[in-house]
């Protein structure tokens, strides 16, 4: 099975995000860049499938600047086989990203595209679903379990109020939720090997796609800050203020 894993470079989740005073973006000095955590789960799942199904190949793809090679190398060090960097400098909206990944998936003859349910920077949660539609493939978002029986895939999805099970044949798009797995760390031999693995660069504009954004970000502002209240000394006082002052119980 050929598995394509699109990944995104995002600020480390522990980073404090500050909006620039002119609203043009966020301050990126002192930001540590990492693979989007949900995409890391996707890489891990792809590697586990490969370990069970001999002859499988795991291909990473990302869309961004040359510096994004860093995250591709990390994914290769985890165990992916090769990587593709689609070079692009400007802003792309989720639909344009999905178009690029669809083109790569078709070119690679991928059987499965596994990616994070959302990127933790813009929190859009759109690309996987758009990709599935553009390819005309079935989709399973928010996966907490993925099982294969030949070409048939059964996915348990984390939905409101419970767990839903759906099934379909490959090829397909699956987006990962938190509990699908716990990603491995890259081993030292893995890091050494990753240096020699293929990392191909393709220019986004060479793909012949209309990538003009239809969704534009005009400006960013910092959210209103919530004021801290006060400390209470005891449980008795807490219950009392909730009852008499806040009047919520």
């Amino acid at each position: 099975m050929k598995i394509l894993v699109p990944i995104k470079r995002v600020p480390d989740p522990a980073t404090t995000i500050r909006v620039l005073p002119d609203g043009s973006g966020i301050a990126t000095d002192n930001v540590k860049w990492v693979i989007n955590p949900f995409d890391e789960i996707a890489i891990e799942e792809a590697l586990r499938i490969k370990e069970k199904q001999a002859g499988s190949e795991v291909v990473l793809v990302t869309i961004g600047q040359s510096t994004w090679q860093e995250q591709l190398r990390t994914g290769l060090a985890m165990g992916a086989d090769r990587a593709i960097l689609v070079k692009n400098d400007g802003y792309l909206d989720p639909l344009a990203l999905a178009k690029i990944i669809a083109k790569v998936a078709a070119g690679e003859n991928a059987d499965l595209v596994l990616l994070g349910k959302q990127a933790i920077d813009d929190d859009s949660n759109q690309v996987g679903q758009m990709l599935a539609e553009l390819l005309g493939w079935p989709q399973a978002t928010f996966a907490s379990k993925v099982e294969f029986a030949d070409k048939r895939v059964t996915v348990i999805r984390e939905v409101d109020g419970g767990l839903e099970t759906i099934a379909f044949n490959l090829p397909a798009v699956v987006t990962t939720d938190l509990r699908l797995n716990e990603p491995r760390y890259a081993s030292l031999p893995g890091i050494m090997k990753a240096r020699k693995k293929e990392l191909k660069e393709v220019a986004a504009e060479s793909l012949g796609l209309d990538l003009a954004p239809k969704l534009k970000i005009k400006s960013l502002t910092a959210p209103p800050k919530r004021q801290a209240g006060r400390k209470v000394a005891s449980v008795e006082e807490l219950v009392s203020v909730l009852h008499t002052e806040a009047k919520v119980i």
């Binding site: 600020p11 995000i17 909006v19 679903q129 539609e133 399973a140 419970g162 759906i166 379909f168």
Partner: protein, 324 residues
């Protein structure tokens, strides 16, 4: 100016409160854009739910029927809605960012070649929208180009529609779906059984974090407090990660966003990802033994204490208050 289609989510003959939020937001959008709002109820037999939805103030309700819409599946629903958008010439499609809304709307947008705004918190008069990014650490003003725009709204940012003076007219339509092109099969839905209120609908939410140390402690320590308060139970991502509770209890950036009247955070340190999901609650209470925990920076009332002592004490105190 094209109209607004509101996708009205429902399950088993009922609809969640978030469906009323979608109607309210869709009607507000229609008013601001000088358009008319139509609610769409899709299903194999949507008439009964459509009759209920018709009480909430949309200009019209469409009962969109097809056997392939019996259970929710993204491919069939996206196909049916896209055909309806083309047929009606609608400019906007709106729903709430529930698990279903998040699954469906991007697929619909791609099918229509349309841009999508996820989880908006405000509709501006100048044609722009506001949505949170970076776990709510930045609020983006966005604009969309094109003949069709797809929108999900954040459930906590809009009111729920109330029953209107008149009942909306209902139009019955058969959905146009090429059944041969459908590839997804519904297998089963394993609903979490609970007598407690829904997390996104509850007046009070009590959430536990890693400080509870085990799933067992959620049961024996936290649940008595949850039930004494008549609350919904939530959890931090750390507690879900540790396997203490299922993911559908997760409050935060990658889980559910809640804004109850009272939010009680027990043994939760308050990572920004958690604050993203609850900081708009009216009153926030934090119980944590670490007085430096960031949760105290957003709490109206903070109690620095060992939760294993404080929580059972709180249950007793609440009983006393109730007895008065």
């Amino acid at each position: 100016m094209g109209d607004v289609l509101i996708f009205a989510e429902h399950l088993g003959g009922h609809f969640p409160k978030t469906t009323l939020t979608a109607i309210h937001a869709g009607v507000e959008l229609a008013q601001k854009r000088g358009a008319s709002a139509t609610a769409v109820v899709a299903g194999d037999a949507p008439d009964a739910v459509a009759a209920e939805i018709a009480k909430y103030g949309a200009a019209k309700v469409i009962a969109l029927a097809h056997p392939a819409l019996k259970n929710y599946l993204a491919d069939a629903h996206a196909a049916a809605l896209a055909a309806l958008v083309k047929k009606t010439g609608a400019e906007f499609v709106v729903t709430t960012a529930t698990a279903l809304g998040k699954d469906l709307m991007p697929r619909l947008a791609a099918r229509l070649g349309a841009p999508m705004a996820s989880e908006i918190t405000a509709i501006n008069d100048d044609g722009t929208y506001v949505r949170p990014m970076y776990a709510g650490n930045a609020m983006a003003t966005i604009e969309m180009d094109g003949p069709v725009k797809v929108i999900t709204v954040r459930g906590t940012a809009f009111d729920a529609a109330k029953p209107a003076a008149s009942v909306s007219p209902i139009e019955k339509l058969d959905a146009e779906i090429d059944a041969a092109a459908l590839k997804q099969e519904f297998v089963s839905f394993n609903q979490t059984k609970s007598d407690r209120p829904q997390l996104t609908e509850a007046r009070i939410v009590v959430s536990g974090g890693r400080g509870l140390k085990s799933g067992e402690n959620f049961k024996i320590v936290l649940e008595p407090l949850v039930d004494e308060m008549g609350a919904a139970m939530g959890a931090s991502r750390a507690a879900v990660d540790a396997g203490f509770v299922p993911n559908d209890l997760q409050v935060g950036q990658t889980g559910k966003v809640v804004a109850p009247e009272l939010y009680v955070a027990v043994g939760i340190s308050g990572a920004i990802q958690h604050l993203a999901g609850m900081k708009d609650s009216k009153i926030i209470v934090a119980i944590n033994k670490d007085e430096e925990a960031p949760i105290f920076s957003v709490a109206d009332y903070g109690l620095v204490a060992d939760l294993f002592k404080a929580v059972p004490e709180m249950v007793e105190e609440l009983k006393k208050v109730k007895a008065h």
